[in-house]
Amino acid sequence: MRIAVCVKRVPDMELRFSIAPDRKSLDPAGLKYDLSDFDGYALEVALRLVEQRGQGEVVAISLGPDDVQETLRKALSMGATRAVQLKADAVPADGMATARALAAELGEGGYDLILFGRMATDTAHQTVGPMTAQLLGLPCVTAITHLDLADGRGTARRALEGAVETVTFPLPAVLTIDEGIARPRLPSLKGIMAAKKKTVEVKPARLGEARLTIQSMELPPDRPPGRIIGEGPDAVPELVRLLQTEAKVL
């Protein structure tokens, strides 16, 4: 079983962000970077599928400048067999441009499964996976929370608002992975040592024209400071009064 996992390098979301003087990017000072959360889940799903079968390979692919090699190293140390960097000066803001470049690479790979995160936690487009699938003409199920594979077919579950959908599909297929399906492992010492011996293959990214650009970035306004209106159940009538008269939500 050959599985490709598309992984993106994103800023660590725990940190405080500030906007750079160009007012359309994050101030890089103090940022740390890691694999996007959902891509970690996707990688874990791929690794388990290959481990269960005792054969196959997991290829991690990331598009961007050379610093994405750090992300690919992490994927290798978690257990990916190979890593490919699609080299570009910057990660495009346009999900379609990214999808074109990924599709150009993936189309030649003969993969049984191509996995994406449900979304990149920075750009939060949730588009690159299904766009790539469409460009490749492959079946695609998005935001899955459960996966079974048997006899060249898959069954997945995905959460809808207030319901859960069960979906069947043939392989090869593109899946985007939601949280909850598999907790990503930490790189083991053995994995880190093994990763050091592997090389990251570098290829030029075939991006095409970007039509979505970032015009500006800002931090959302802080919520006006709230107040503690009291302690214990005796504060409840005052809360209800404020909800009625001040917040007007009752």
Partner: protein, 329 residues
Amino acid sequence: MADVFAFAETRAGELRKVAREVVTAARQAADATGGGEVHALLVGAPGIGAHAEPLGRHGADRVVVVEHPALERYSSEVVAATAAAVIRAGGYRAAFFSASAQGRDLAPRVAAALEVSMASDLVAFSFEGDALVGRHPTHTGKVITTVRLAGAPAVATLRPGAVTPAEQPRTPRVESAAPALAPEAARVVVTEVAAKSATRLDLGEAPVIVSGGRGLKEAANFRLLEELADAFGNAAVGATRAVTDDGWRDPSDQIGQTGRVVSPELYLAVGISGAIQHIAGMRTSKTIVAINKDKDAPIFKVADYGIVGDLFEIVPRLTEEIRKVRAER
């Protein structure tokens, strides 16, 4: 003057609220760009065309109805092919979908089929020259990114709840069309849709969300929150990841960075510490109330109103008071 396309989402034969939001947004977009028409697409089992009337009420001039017995359930491939065909033929300025589970699945396929880019999860938009400019909460809600999408059609998904459905009644021209891909040819097939609870509103649609964290101590105590939600009458029950991880609540109830992002009128955080990943999912709520026994819990920093104390004493009292208020009306 250019026309605007709106995808009218349905599930199990029902029109979803987001469909009215998307048609309302399309009406606003058409009016802002010179008063073109709004064309809506309805796809479903025979009978789905009955929803053309409410779409007209929200400003649709034309409704394309695609009915087929196999389309009782959403088919990503058939609906994407059909929407792409309608959009290609219509020469639209913009094509709007909801950023709902279905819309997020559908819109990127349609954009790729049309070989255009798209903007996601917009909370506001406008047109500037040949571009659609939209505001999109990114970086787990910690940044608002304004994106600029050049060219037509400008495909975009709109965050559920960001647009308030508004009526602009007209009698739409209703036309039926065949699916652009035979449903039998679809490779991806939905075999089951299990509704979680028929009685409770969805988190994305409820005006009030009562949300619980580890402070509830055990799964059975969520009954207290269910009762409070019942007292409101228009509430859904949410949870933190700590709670869904422990299996106290369904994973789909999780609110936060990796769960649902919600903006109800009223969000009650009960026994929730207010971790940054949780706040990412609820900070845009209109009014936030926190109940926590720790006066230094970070949730109080985002709450408009807080009560410090034991939730097991406070929540039953609140339920009682809300019942009284509702009974008076």
